[in-house]
Symmetry: C2
Subunit: 492 residues, 2 copies
Amino acid sequence: MKPDDTDLAEMQQPDAAAIPGMDGDGSHEEPRMSEAEEARAERLDEDDRLKPEFVEAVREALVDEHGDVRDLVEPLHPADIADLFEILPREDRPALARGISDLMSGEVISELNDYVRDDLLESLPPDAIAEIAEQLETDDAVALIEDMGAREQAAVLAEMELEDRAAIESALSFPEESAGRLMQRDLVAVPEHITVGDLIDYMRDNGDLTTEFWEVFVVDPAHRPVGTCQLSWILRCPRAIPISDIMKREQTLLPADMDQEEVALRFQKYALISAAVVDKAGRLIGQVTADDIVHIIQEEANEDTLLLSGAGEGDINEPIRTSYSQRVRWLVANLGTALVASLIIAAFGAAIEKLVALAVLMPVVASIGGNAGTQTMAVSVRALAMNQLTRSNTRRVIWREMRVALLNGVTVAALIGGATAMIFTPMLGVVIASAVVINIITAGMAGVLVPVIFDRLDQDPAVASSVFVTMITDSMGFFAFLGLAVASGLVG
Amino acid sequence: MKPDDTDLAEMQQPDAAAIPGMDGDGSHEEPRMSEAEEARAERLDEDDRLKPEFVEAVREALVDEHGDVRDLVEPLHPADIADLFEILPREDRPALARGISDLMSGEVISELNDYVRDDLLESLPPDAIAEIAEQLETDDAVALIEDMGAREQAAVLAEMELEDRAAIESALSFPEESAGRLMQRDLVAVPEHITVGDLIDYMRDNGDLTTEFWEVFVVDPAHRPVGTCQLSWILRCPRAIPISDIMKREQTLLPADMDQEEVALRFQKYALISAAVVDKAGRLIGQVTADDIVHIIQEEANEDTLLLSGAGEGDINEPIRTSYSQRVRWLVANLGTALVASLIIAAFGAAIEKLVALAVLMPVVASIGGNAGTQTMAVSVRALAMNQLTRSNTRRVIWREMRVALLNGVTVAALIGGATAMIFTPMLGVVIASAVVINIITAGMAGVLVPVIFDRLDQDPAVASSVFVTMITDSMGFFAFLGLAVASGLVG
């Protein structure tokens, strides 16, 4: 049976929504909400966040012996259940897990924040964890157990079925945060010579195939990828067409040991939906899909913000001692750099005693320089991460930042110099204006060079650039201002 | 014909690569590279960046009358050609565009950085731009012309075919950075009552259908979405099964005016590959796919880093005057906040004149506080962006940050206090230690509260939090240290 064209609407046209026949049964209903939508609307606000009243209701149900927390939580999507766990205070989480045990699907577990999840898992025996892991795709199962201690990991793996266990052990053999850990091993791979019809029949006949795929990978006899084929192309071709006629030969292959940040960049650059992961011999061993990459990109981009500010992983769910140890090291490093600045000030102690206005104004010069340095540094770190700042254009970018710095410096110097000249003396105005220009230009230079040097040394530029740039701008700020004040004879 | 099972390999098993039959023709070839791969390897380094030597070769070919730049560039992927434009100095770009005019596909154009693209387009007449826009999907075409002046935009639209023009005009009617601008209008929508067989026949018969889809949307007679169906499900079901039996009713609908940041969060939270965009009446008007979202997530996450540092859009390709105007405003704001700190110092001028050690040490207290404030602020801004910090847990997060601040404060205070006591006087050590603890705790409080307050006021917390937090930590640093020095009788 060939369907009537008017029954099938394809929206190439802006007004396709009004295709005749789609309104065929004449029912011009008002927009209505399904029951599930209504239940969701009661629980989530317009920004898709759980409403405080709902969270409160759950907490009350948890303490009330007759409260049925399961009824409250049941309409939520697994991702929202995971959010609920994160928002609840730590002490309420085990009670919630008990109250909704049948809703604790693998999907909920894999959506949980790492810290919240590990915390919950600690209360579970290995066989319960193994049972959860078996429900998950390989990549999620790996994420579940990769942070466990070796002994606990072994105990969980021992409880798993051989097949799942082998898959996880193999994934764990790849480096952390690599394509090999990210990939799922379930995929559909076919030889070049089959036809569209063969492929469809094969898929219809094999009920245990994965459904999580968006492309079919075409492989040679040695199982090396030779092309990919979007499902939409397969659906649109007559049965007799060979797969090799419709596949795309050019494809992005991900070596299993490629870092996940690189994987994410490839997905972004080439707008991929899925990509093949290959082993050292070039054989297809898994696939990475765009929905997993979305998490990675968010993670990596946030990582840079947090690293730049010295906040470590910066997760509000991490244990206090982790936050403390990650942050305090940068504060101590900052203490060291601040002491360098103090030494410079101390060298000019006599000048300050004579002219206390120097002490009043010197933090301004340092602060403006620090701010300008942070701006340039953020731009450079991002450009490095996005592969936009490379050896080919480093000099051009530095020259660009110098010109921006000069413009910024002159503007800010005019303002602070003018104000200082009016309130104190014209000479002090000239001194502070010159110091500001010098410091902003220094900041621009340091803001590009420090991250670039870290990158050339194969260090993550987001990690330590901040400390160095601040040290440079603080020291230069105090030195230029106090030095010029002395050199100009102001405190002579 | 039913294919032989051994011909079709599906990799559920870790060792599936060795499935018998796949090696059937006995050819154990060594891994080899195709010609295209070789050409790429010559041009790109292992991090997928264009090699400096290649970029240099292109520049030489551009000045050499006999150089054939097209031969050099031809093996590159469109995304790499776009990278090449970005890496070349501005003055070389028009020559490259002329030299490879037949390679300047819509894909290259849509991958170009906004500034580089607008710059190139300025040299083209409206009909040439219209021709490029017509090659693109609606969302890319909209991105191409949305930043043009009204008059140029009208000129380009006037040159386009009616159909494409209507699609773009309709997209432009939605707010900037909304789902309506992001969506593509080409999709496949079908009524509930058809079968898998009907759908496949329909797609085979309609050659002009889009191929860029991963799910089929099922709609009711009023064209409102009632469910979605992954292509893999369709491929695996017998022809007689009704679509309504295999579709998933629960789906994430995106209102056309939803902000792209919210859209990206939905894709991430619910691990979507594509999602339906609906108008105010709930009718399906387009789809957003994960490959587009990958860009948005990167953009939005970077935006926060750059905004926090006051670097505006922070693109190394933006014109210098844009960088200048975006950055100088924050430097001027910073000047204002630095002056508040100066006023506080000025109030203690007499004390500093008597004890110049105060001037030497006071920047340390302010700097440590600023650093601690930035750490907490980065964590809070991220948690707000990820919907992890909500009304339900604000108080808990503040309490958490207070405890981290106390630990950090005590550690840093012990170090600086001890050193000061040894070098200067024990009393000055006590004073600076107390000031550091006070300032780090203040920083922790401000680092959470300032972003949360901006968020409650519906302002982007990444934009202005930095200025306020720095002002608070600078002022409190100087005030606590100098005030305690006076109160303790140190400067008699």
